[in-house]
Amino acid sequence: MSTTTLTFPATASRSLPQTLRIFLTETRYEFLRLLRTRSFALSVIGFPVVFYIFFGLIMNRGEHIGGITVARYMLAGYTVFGMVGAALFGIGVGLSAELAAGWLELKRASPMPPLAYLCAKCISAMVFGIIIVSLLTLLGITAGSVHLSLIEFVRMMALTIVGVIPFAAMGMALALLVPASSAPGIANMIYLPMSFCGGLWVPIMFLPKVLRHFAVVLPTYHLAQLQLTAFGYPSTGTALSHWIGLTGFTLLALGVALFAFRRLEQNS
């Protein structure tokens, strides 16, 4: 043998349809995994439903807030509460557990496109968000005599899908910063106060003045206001200001996640 020969035929690269199929498979099984993880599925769907039944339907005595019924107003808050939970726990807690177990490392060493992993987690959270919002809407219509036009419903769904993104980014940052054992606890410590202060449980105008000012930095506040706008309720601040708030928060969370990922890589 005089020259260095190619010892293996070069493997065929993946075609585009094959790559797309990886994204689909990854997403399908991530969703299935979350659905089968009862502790996740039950709490993430159950909490907003139970809260809405209590605070939106049972406690509601036919009052109106700014021209719309309490049941309708609260629907906006609890749908946001639900989708934030799905994103924060599905992505934040899921990712941190897989990171700690070494599973992420195996995935990274495999030829899986890294984006497929992140997309699977993000889209699964979106699907959970859609399930939660649909259930709450159904409850509102049947038990709370909420009237919702098709356009309003579609707008709400679109907002659910987009609204998952800032919280997915936040979940990612959380997973990369916090040790897996404390991730669920810390996620709750952020989730619950952020929901309350963002006006998801109690309408924002009923909160003390200090909290109302503080709410401006919370993504939950901006998303809830956008949801209310979709219902035709005049929000505090303009829609544009809320979009800017959400985008800013997303960029900040992604920046933190990137920084944390670099730090992890340097130590590996």
Partner: protein, 313 residues
């Protein structure tokens, strides 16, 4: 240090580490000018005590970590390159795979990553998944988990396979079955790099053993060569088949035994004298002639474990 036995030409290198130094951010020097080449159809066992740098070397080859200095190549490309990864299979020490997915589902996910995966039925057979296909990962025993992870490494029918402690937690039968599969892979021209704590495994399986310690290459060669290097047989004539460990009860003082032809090491524990010789027949003849009371004689081929302990002391 004894000579390093490295075959001279490497025309069919599949993966290589060239003069790799790896220093972590916390200042720990994990690898110190390490070079290693894996060739086609070869089973290489990477041995070393804990903290020797085995995992670091494997991580570099998988492209999970970047070297401080030196060059890593997989199929002539950067290990992060997707085309290189499409030809590589990996089994890592994983604490937990997703628990609520079935074995079949996890295998299908990994098969989907590769353009020409191994047929599903072949994978089930190769990794011994017949009875656990429908189980959730969370329901598997330790050995069954290892088998599933092994299947994931083989899913793409890769040309290069990294196995990190593949047989931990397996019973003897399952371990032998995995050995058979690994040998069959090498026979098909696949390259396998494995790290293991079981020296018996490296001895039985590897074509070549690479011993590293404190981030440096200690020696590299066939199991027989590694044994002979470590036991002091640096001369050209000795091969492992002639090196023997002799144990006996004898009145001869240890310092006298050391002067007998062929003896490379000798020591006394309690009443038992242990010595290593490259010329067992000559040594024994002389000892028996010198000491008629010599008894409890035992002659053994050296185990890899002896070699390993001697090398990494």
């Amino acid at each position: 240090m004894p000579a390093i036995l490295e075959p001279p030409i490497a025309t069919d290198a599949v993966a290589s580490l060239t003069s790799i130094t790896k220093r972590y951010a916390n200042g720990v020097l994990a690898l110190d000018d390490l070079s290693l080449t894996l060739r086609r159809g070869e089973i290489v066992a990477l041995l070393g005590p804990n903290g020797a740098g085995k995992s670091t070397a494997v991580k570099l080859l998988m492209g999970l970590s970047a070297p401080t200095a030196g060059n890593v190549r997989i199929f002539g490309a950067d290990p992060r390159n997707t085309d290189a990864r499409l030809r590589t299979g990996v089994m890592l020490q994983v604490g937990r795979a997703p628990e609520m997915l079935r074995v079949r589902e996890q295998v299908e996910i990994f098969r989907g990553y590769y353009p020409k995966p191994m047929p599903y039925a072949d994978l089930v057979k190769a990794a011994g998944l017949e009875e656990i296909e429908a189980r959730f990962f969370g329901q598997l025993s330790g050995g069954q988990k290892q088998r599933m992870l092994f299947a994931l490494a083989l899913a793409g029918d890769p040309d290069l396979i990294f196995l990190d402690e593949p047989t931990v937690g397996l019973d003897i039968e399952a371990r032998r079955a995995m050995w058979t599969t690994i040998r069959a892979l090498a026979a098909r021209g696949k390259t396998v790099l494995l790290t293991t704590h079981y020296l018996e495994e490296a001895d039985a399986l590897a074509h070549r053993i690479v011993v590293i310690n404190k981030g440096k290459l200690v020696c590299s060669g066939t199991p027989a060569e590694v044994k002979s290097i470590s036991l002091g047989a640096t001369g050209g004539t000795a091969t492992s088949s002639t090196i023997k460990i002799i144990r006996c009860v004898t009145a001869l003082p240890v310092q006298n035994i050391r002067t007998i032809p062929g003896v490379t090491q000798a020591g006394l524990t309690d009443t038992l004298t242990t010595l290593t010789t490259t010329r067992p027949e000559a040594t024994l003849r002389e000892m028996l002639a010198l000491d008629p009371t010599l008894h409890a004689l035992e002659v053994q081929s050296p185990a890899l474990e002896d070699a390993f302990l001697a090398l990494t002391k």
